[in-house]
Symmetry: C2
Subunit: 216 residues, 2 copies
DNA sequence: GGAAACATACCGAACGGTTGGTATGGACGT
DNA sequence: ACGTCCATACCAACCGTTCGGTATGTTTCC
């Protein structure tokens, strides 16, 4: 039950400020290259505050992933496209929304948990698990709409709503890497457009056939 | 013009061994978390050798990206699918080949330059540029086949061969992140299957129409 | 042909700075 | 008075980097 600091009433408490600093700094520099001092400086607190709230740097990484999950969940749950009636419209609304928030610097629109996963999957299993839960939890929110859209159009496919939902995340994560490589957003947006076109093709075909180029 | 070391003909020279160690260790631990000592230990050389061949750790990162470009270029150029006659068969052969090499531990099948890009794009521009050249250079090798396949089937599209080629890389990079998150390969393979299905749909439609769900 | 002069490849101890983490004490609300 | 919250001071380990040194060619000139 952490009470808000009273002597700095205009800013949030140290823990939240550290989590926000982690969100911003780690997206820009990566987890390993971000020092505890970096985070304290960005949050405007001292090391005493840091290790009061987090046992280790790894624990902060886990907490940052959890914080990311909370904030992004609320962000998408309240997005306008969620109010659309048709499930397929909501699915395309999601993709359009993702496109719309690809703006500014890569550090501002890329995914914290995707970045951390890539970096620490081998050395910090606790962080990796928190990131995986975030990514796949977010993907799971798309499944009901996909399933409903399939049912509404009578689509019998050799893919599952879950696999398509995860595929959207793969495309987004990959698009972020392209954006980081170039420093621009055009390549990322192009790739999301390809995803949009794929969804269009999937849901305009009355019956999804087997892949004629299947290697088997 | 470094000539090959003559007095130790049985092992590769220290430089190559360090580059191979970098390829393996950085894929497993990331660039920032990999120390120079780690690399020297893995390569079986001393720090003296390291800094004899590379001015800084960053310079090794650039060289490792260049080495990755060289070795993977040769690897794909000699792959069996390259011998197929039909351009579209080569394109699907490429995707199948990518699927086939997703095997073992993520550290063994994921992309060094994608990992490094994600991590150092902000702090080490020199490494980022070398990685970007590798990714987009590899993507460019797909463009001729895509363009030829489009021409052969009379496809008029609102996308370019270059954008589709880059999209394949985005899907692969994103698939690698999913694989790292779970520790398994199934999710990565699923996503590449979605890519394959997308290509099938694109090249089975006689004329690619505008996107009915376009937000405009 | 042979030795001097130079170049290349590598070793390993040491350095200054930074790292994640700790020990301790004080301000504050209850 | 007491626990929570945070600041200051500090530490040992580790970091990337430097550098004096050795071993082994290669080139040059007599």
């Amino acid at each position: 039950m952490p009470r808000p600091a009273k002597h700095h009433p205009e800013r949030g408490d140290a823990r939240t400020r550290l989590l926000e600093a982690a969100r911003d700094v780690i997206r820009a520099k990566g987890f390993a290259a971000t020092s505890v001092d970096d985070l304290c400086k960005a949050a405007g607190v001292t090391k005493g505050a840091f290790f009061h709230h987090f046992e280790t740097k790894e624990a902060l990484g886990v907490a940052a992933a959890a914080y990311w999950t909370e904030t992004t969940s609320a962000f998408f749950a309240n997005a306008p496209y969620r109010k659309l009636d048709d499930p397929l419209d909501r699915l395309f609304g999601y993709v359009e929304f993702r496109k719309a928030i690809i703006d500014g610097d890569p550090a501002e629109f890329t995914c914290l948990v995707g970045t951390m996963t890539q970096e620490v999957y081998g050395s910090h299993p606790a962080i990796r698990d928190a990131c995986a839960a975030s990514i796949f939890g977010h993907a799971a929110t798309l499944e009901p709409d996909i399933a409903a859209a399939m049912a509404a159009r009578g689509i019998e496919a050799d893919w599952t709503p879950a696999s398509l939902a995860r595929h959207t995340q793969a495309v987004l994560q990959g698009a972020f890497i392209l954006a980081k490589a170039t420093g621009g957003r055009a390549e990322a947006l192009d790739s999301v457009d390809h995803l949009k076109r794929y969804l269009t093709l999937l849901f305009s075909t009355p019956r999804s056939k087997g892949n004629p180029h299947d290697g088997s």
